[in-house]
């Protein structure tokens, strides 16, 4: 137990901050994922073949390629790509992106692909009459989306979004390969310096279990809230 003591003698405080880091990366990634979903869901539902193709390309590639490979692509290629764009604008200095941004962005791309699929399914399962009724009432397109489609969509999407959250939370363990000090990386460091990998990795597993357990509790509450009246 003294291994987990807070302060300089144990790893308790380090692991606590690492857990916060995992949470921060997961939430940021989830938000980035929502933005991706916001762009790609309309593309997937669009009537134009070419826009459709772009949307399908994104979800198929990201969901068909291992997460680790995507992380390596952004980890090794990310700063190169940004420097290339910067050099067009005449900035030729070396740019280093920090591990948090790379990590959150790569996990965000992955979680975005799953969110896109969830939103697409949710919108498609909304009764067609709802679209038609709002059209006949002469409601403007964006009011229709925000006031009629979105509230219904959220109710249908929430159970699946909780799955996406679980996947995202677990995927953040992979960005430990980039050196970002989250639960996995901190356990790796602690295991290395104390020569007690069994204890620290098991403790990491417990931390992840706690995170999934409590986030499920919260999401269940949200689900109840959004399914009022059904």
């Amino acid at each position: 137990m003294e291994l987990l003591a807070f302060g300089n003698t144990g790893w308790g405080d380090e692991l606590f901050y690492a857990t916060l880091m995992t949470l921060a990366v997961s939430i940021t990634a989830m938000i980035i994922g929502f933005f991706f979903a916001l762009i790609f869901t309309p593309l997937k539902l669009s009537k134009h073949k070419s826009l459709n193709l772009i949307g399908n390309f994104y979800t198929t590639v990201v969901r068909g390629v291992p997460e680790l490979l995507i992380i390596y692509l952004l980890f090794f290629g990310g700063s190169g790509a940004i420097m290339y764009v910067a050099s067009i604008f005449g900035y030729n200095q070396y740019i280093e992106i920090n591990a948090f941004i790379t990590g959150a962005f790569s996990i965000g791309i992955i979680s975005g692909a799953y969110s896109t699929e969830v939103f697409r399914g949710a919108i498609q399962s909304i009764d067609k009459g709802q679209f038609e009724a709002s059209k006949t009432l002469g409601i403007k397109k964006y009011v229709q989306f925000y006031k009629i489609i979105l509230p219904q969509m959220l109710r249908l999407a929430l159970p699946n979004l909780s799955n996406v959250w679980q996947i995202t939370l677990k995927d953040t363990s992979l960005i430990s390969v980039t050196g970002l000090v989250e639960i996995m990386r901190q356990s790796y460091i602690a295991a290395g310096s104390t020569r007690d990998p069994l204890f620290f990795y098991s403790f990491a597993a417990v931390l992840y279990l706690l995170l999934t357990f409590f986030s499920m509790k919260i999401i269940n509450k949200l689900e109840m809230r959004y399914s009022r009246g059904f």
Binding site: G64, P66, L69, L174, D196, P197, L198, F199, A205, L209
Partner: protein
């Protein structure tokens, strides 16, 4: 775009694909048995056995695969007792550690898929079998299992694809699978995009084949 690097790295990546496929197939086969075993335990009326099976699937589905591999590869070697048993022969090899972790992980997901498949079988089928005087074993193997296979195929197809992506984690315990070799080439040439296109293309091709194979099986197993 460095086309020469792409053509040069293709054979290397292709031979690494064999490692990935070997990891995938072995762990899927073992995982299927583990999953079936725990799905049967889940349907047991004994509360203790039931909870045990639930705990197994909860723990393996609630923690990242990376943690599971690390516990088995780095953690288990620490137990002095294990080092003296024959298990050590298996546990000192990263290959077998990866297989054990993958099998246990996919076993947990498979047990959930099979459990829900068994539970959606209409009780009428089993009652019909009973009233025909069929033995319990016969009902299980000839009625419940074929229906469960059909029910669980779409979800199991997804699990195979998730597992294919999961095998990429073998590269974290020094195995040179497709992702491992891709990372090696990236870190020596610093051409991530080219290598990603080739390696990602191979992965996509495999998911494409698996996806269509499952679709074909679904058609074959449907009643109509």
């Amino acid at each position: 775009m460095d086309l020469e690097l792409m053509t040069n790295s293709f054979p290397k990546l292709l031979s690494a694909t064999m490692v990935t496929l070997k990891l995938l197939s072995v762990s899927l086969i073992i995982g299927l048995f583990i999953g079936l075993f725990f799905a049967i335990l889940r349907m047991n009326k004994n509360l203790f056995i039931n909870k045990f099976a639930y705990g197994y699937s909860y723990i393996f589905r609630g923690t990242p695969l990376l943690v599971q591999i690390f516990i088995i590869y780095f953690g288990l070697g620490q137990i002095e007792y294990l080092r003296s048993t024959f298990l050590w022969v298996v546990l000192k090899e990263p290959y077998w550690c990866a297989i054990i972790a993958f099998s246990l992980n996919t076993g947990a997901y498979t047990s959930e898929i099979l459990r829900s498949a068994f539970q959606t079988i209409k009780p009428g089928f089993i009652e019909a079998g009973k009233s025909l005087g069929l033995p319990r074993k016969f009902i299980f193997y000839k009625i419940q299992i074929p229906i469960a296979i059909k029910q669980s195929l779409p979800a199991y197809g997804n699990e195979i694809i998730l597992m294919l992506k999961g095998t990429s984690l073998a590269s974290t315990v020094t195995l040179m699978d497709l992702t491992g070799v891709a990372k090696y080439i990236i870190s020596t040439t610093f051409k991530p995009v080219e290598v990603f296109i080739v390696a990602g293309g191979i992965y996509l091709f495999m998911t494409f084949v698996i996806h269509n194979f499952i679709k074909y099986l679904e058609k074959k197993f449907s009643y109509q």
